[in-house]
């Protein structure tokens, strides 16, 4: 499922002319990278890393904590990218890549 989503996002990212769609595809790719990190942290029979007496096997907590930082970076990226696109739209009245050459 992740691989299928990945190829769809790559396809959209390369083919799409609309900048907002490009950013959306980029977000999907980023989410998939983060998701694959999370999945790899869980092996069979492990549960979420919340300490209790009943549970013996925990998932590796490090990737989760690292991915929070990556998510924050992603959010910052989105904020800046979308605000630039808005500025670009006010200036050129378009968000299509092929019409923005030389801007």
């Amino acid at each position: 499922m992740i691989y299928a989503m990945f190829f769809v996002a790559i396809y959209g990212f390369i083919i799409s002319n609309n900048l907002i769609k490009k950013i959306m595809c980029l977000n999907i790719i980023q989410s998939l990278v983060i998701l694959s990190f999370m999945l790899a942290a869980h092996s069979k029979g492990t549960v979420a890393p919340v300490i209790s007496d009943i549970v013996e096997k925990y998932a590796d907590p490090l990737p989760h904590s690292l991915m929070i930082t990556a998510v924050v970076v992603g959010v910052c990226f989105n904020c800046i990218a979308l605000s630039i696109i808005v500025k670009l739209y006010y200036k050129k009245k378009t968000v299509l890549v092929n019409k923005l050459k030389g801007v």
Binding site: I10, A40, P63, L66, F77, I84, K87, L88, V103
Partner: protein
Amino acid sequence: MSFYEQNVILFSIIPVLGFIINFFFKLLKKDYSKIVYKFFVFVQFISGLYIFYQFPSNPIIIKLSIFNDYAPVFEISSIRLIFLMLYMLMIFFLFFTKKYKNSFEDKISIMIFQAFLCGCSGLIFSKDMFSYFVYYELMILCSYILITSNKKYFAALKYMIFNSISSMFFLAGIGYNYYSTGSLLIDPEIINNKIAIMFFLIAFLIKGGFFPASSWVPTCHSGAGNIFSGCLSSYAISTGVLGLYRFVALPSIAHNYTSFMELIKIISVVTILLSSFLLFLEKNLKKALTHSTVYVMGVCGILLGSGEKSLVFIYLIIHCFYKMFLFILLFDIDFSENNTFLHVRSTSNVFWLFSLAVLIAAGIFPSFTYFAKMSFDNYFSGIKILWYVSMFLILAGFFKFKFIKSSKFKMKDKKIFFMGSAYSIPVFLFAAKKITFLGLILKKIIAIIVAGGVKGFISKLILSIIAVQNIEWLKIHDYFYVDIIILIVAYFLSYSIYMKYIRYNRFLNSLINNNLNMELFLILVLSSFCFNYIYFGL
């Protein structure tokens, strides 16, 4: 923890202190932001000097937590110290230039620039992958905003798109490496997974502006203000080479993965040829300077692929010096998009300083860049022809710009003296062995000066050939005329190829005219090529 170690940890935090103080001063009516900025740049410079002065003979590893690998780890070693030198050269220019006012006009820009400096300086000593990633992201996120402050929105967006792709590759590499080794340390012995190194390779090829992801560099770097363009071209892009060194070159040497080094060399050769050719055709002076940055990255790639690691960093330091200098000189030159006429504004030395810096950029004798390229000719066969052709294209590309109002040469001027002495150090080093070459060097310099002064593109080209060929006058071998013929043929061949095939070819034209979708597609092709090359060979 000793004072020295504390100093290393705090080195990257110093600009953030300036950021916080500026944030509180923002509430006041009077503007103290530039004073605070200058003060903290100065403090960081002193801190860097202290790190240099007290540098121990053995590398030191500083861990911030008892959990070893799972907390930020810093390291001080000789190569990191060379990169620190690169950073300090950049902030030296920032501190002493009076032109920064034109680049950062408002308080917010100065604050963001301080955060950018934090990201830049954090990369130097960080030894764990995740803090490296975070520092890198901080650096490029601030870069996006600072490019938009120059109202070049598409340039900023392009920078964002390319760097976010490379960040994803980087993140994927970190993930692969973590699950195969269980460690986040940047250590050549630990990074042993081929797929992880592959991801790192693609990530840093994009960040370093290598082919096919090289076209974002001219658009984005020329979109920023002059000072910030200098910072991006001299330091920020060099971090791509630093990444290639730490994450690809060292691990592949340690585990004997020779195909990675070969791959870097192949891509670097294409990068050099493409960037020098594009510089030859470029009509915008600022973009021409950024093309030369891509060229330097290609040269560093070849040096790195050949195992000349210390030479790479020395080359980057020289590049930082003349590139910052050239970008600062742009304040005194009026230039437009599609016009090769340069109007010198105020100072009388611009033409001379510009010519000297361009000589170093092209790598003409007796600059260090020449020695770095020519000292080793065992990289691969045909490397000398590559150097000659690229040097010629770069010189001819720069000399096509015409200075309209060049004033008299003032020998007493301090700047000329400083530049001249910096330029002549290699001359003296070389002259220690063969003094008779000095007359020949003078001939070359005269040819360069005349090339800059004469009118007409063809005469400039001929004089550029003389300038490049002057190198060979040092050796006076049997193949002197063969080299001249190669250069002339290379020029006419490249020009005719451009006129006949590239100018009207949709695919190749997109490489020159910045077609975003085509470039993204080429990155995908590069990725698949790299994977194929590593696993199945050519």
